[in-house]
């Protein structure tokens, strides 16, 4: 338990200390909120969609979590390159403890990021229908954060340097974000896109958080929660298994 705690503590320390990363990772959600929120707001309202900021805010919160969580998982590559991983691998602790500690740390950081983005959305006029529903929304954020941190860890366990990072961003993270329904409603889509949306794990996260904060869940809470919990459990096991394999 102490070992998991200390590795969690390490992730938090690193996050709080790198201000450039903190500010940098908030820039993108703010840009999306302002540029898209105000840019498309009028058209969206004219098309009968209602308030676009209300629609967009949960999606941008998920974006903040997605990027931060993947990045926290990918940090394993840094630890490989800068040597700290070796220090943990020769310590009398199991690989599972190391993986769990850093995944919880990364997920905590990503959840914090999501909460900060949520606070920012208030400045551009976002208001949840019911303030109490922020609590379940944060729970969903935690699950999403866990899933994507574990995914990042799983990927990083198989990579030796950061050269693959761009490929991951362009062919995995970006599609996950754009096809999640974070930016547009999931109605009247071509069948191919609809299929991609349905296999995108983030779709269920966006839908759940949107359902909690402003209502209008498309899949229904039951399906959202089931899918999120099942895939997160699978990804944690997969991440732990791949991470354990690092030791050669």
């Amino acid at each position: 338990m102490k070992i998991i705690y200390i590795l969690w503590f390490r992730q938090i320390k690193r996050y709080l200390r790198s201000r450039s990363r903190l500010i940098g990772s908030l820039g993108q959600p703010i840009l999306f909120l302002v540029a898209l929120g105000y840019g498309f707001g009028a058209i969206y309202a004219k098309a009968g969609g209602g308030n676009y900021i209300d629609f967009l805010a949960p999606g941008v919160i998920c974006m903040g979590i997605l990027f931060t969580a993947i990045f926290a998982g990918i940090e394993v590559i840094w630890d490989k390159q800068f040597g700290f991983l070796k220090e943990t691998l020769v310590a009398p602790v199991s690989r599972l403890q190391i993986m769990v500690g850093r995944t919880l740390g990364g997920a905590t950081v990503a959840t914090m990021q999501g909460v900060i983005v949520l606070a920012i959305t208030f400045f551009v006029g976002f208001r949840p229908t019911d303030w109490w529903m922020i609590l379940p929304a944060v729970l969903f954020m935690i699950v999403i954060a866990l899933f994507f941190t574990a995914l990042g860890t799983a990927i990083a366990s198989r990579l030796d340097d950061m050269q693959g990072f761009q490929v991951i961003m362009n062919f995995l993270v970006m599609p996950i974000f754009f096809l999640s329904g974070a930016l547009f409603p999931l109605t009247g889509l071509p069948p191919v896109i609809e299929f991609l949306v349905k296999i995108d794990p983030l779709s269920y996260g966006v839908d759940a958080i949107r359902g909690a904060l402003v209502g209008g869940s498309q899949f229904g809470f039951g399906l959202d929660i089931t899918v999120l919990l099942v895939i997160t459990a699978i990804m944690l096991v997969l991440g732990a298994w791949l991470f354990s394999g690092i030791e050669a």
Partner: protein
């Protein structure tokens, strides 16, 4: 136990004559490591006495790093047996891990954390109690003259300071054996000298055994009580510097080393270091 002890004595007749079995902190017996068709370590046996400074020498790619990885539980031997501090490295990895500290060839500190935080994480991972580690961290950081800089981020440390911090960290959990894999690469002569002085003092005060690899043969000559030369995965000579010089008819360790391993320059292929480590890890 008695039977195994007996066979080791037969294998290592010469040393067994000199020391009691219990004096050996590391015992490697017929150790082999293969990567596919390539044999990195080929049927190697040696024993290291408690409290001695032992140098493990060899050209690049000779099998040094592979051997260290097996001794430190990062790799499993394909065949043979290794015990460290009385524990088998394959069957009791965590007991073995608690018994040694290691200073890697490349830095292994978290540079985004302070020096103290690096020490703290190490202490907790090794299961130390706060009442114990608080004092121990202070003692060791004072010894390596970093206590007044304990709250600085490691990324602001110089190369020599990082090395000193790694030494302090490696000793934090009272290891019986300290491994140093080319510990003085890239350090200036002043820092090297200082580092060895710490180490010599520590061997005395903490009764630890030091196992190190180096390419600076004068370093091995000066500090190692016994040494072994490995080449092409086999131990080609072992003993004191004088033994090696006598065996080869040379007057310096460097000449003896060249006589034993030849003058041809080795390819980097399979040489220790990050490249190899990364490839081994990358394999999954």
């Amino acid at each position: 136990m008695i039977i195994r002890g007996f066979s080791v004595i037969v294998d290592n007749f010469k040393y067994a004559m000199l020391y009691d079995m219990n004096d050996f902190i590391i015992t490697a017996k017929n150790v082999t490591k293969k990567f596919g068709d390539f044999t990195a370590v080929d049927n190697v046996s040696f024993q290291i006495k408690k409290g001695e400074i032992f140098a493990f020498l060899g050209p690049n790619g000779a099998g040094k790093s592979t051997m260290i990885k097996m001794l430190t539980t990062l790799l499993h031997p394909t065949a043979g047996e290794i015990t460290l501090n009385g524990f088998d490295v394959v069957h009791h990895p965590n007991k073995v891990r608690r018994s040694f500290g290691i200073i890697f060839q490349d830095p292994s500190l978290d540079t985004e954390l302070t020096a103290y935080e690096n020490m703290l994480i190490h202490a907790v991972m090794y299961g130390m109690e706060k009442s114990v580690y608080a004092e121990r961290i202070q003692t060791l950081m004072k010894l390596v003259e970093l206590w007044d800089k304990k709250d600085q981020l490691v990324k602001n440390y110089s190369g020599g300071m990082k090395r000193r911090l790694e030494i302090a960290r490696g000793l934090l959990h009272h290891p019986a054996v300290l491994f140093l894999d080319e510990p003085t690469v890239g350090l200036d002569p002043q820092t090297r000298n200082l580092m060895w002085n710490y180490l010599k003092d520590l061997v005395k005060s903490e009764k630890i055994t030091v196992f190190f690899t180096t390419h600076y043969l004068e370093e091995a000559e000066k500090y190692a009580e016994r040494l072994a030369v490995i080449d092409h995965g086999k131990i080609v000579a072992h003993g004191t510097t004088a033994d090696l010089e006598k065996q080869t008819g040379k007057t310096t360790l460097e000449d003896a080393f060249l006589a034993l391993t030849g003058k041809a320059i080795r390819e980097e292929e399979g040489a220790g270091g990050m490249g190899h480590m990364a490839r081994v890890w990358g394999r999954r």
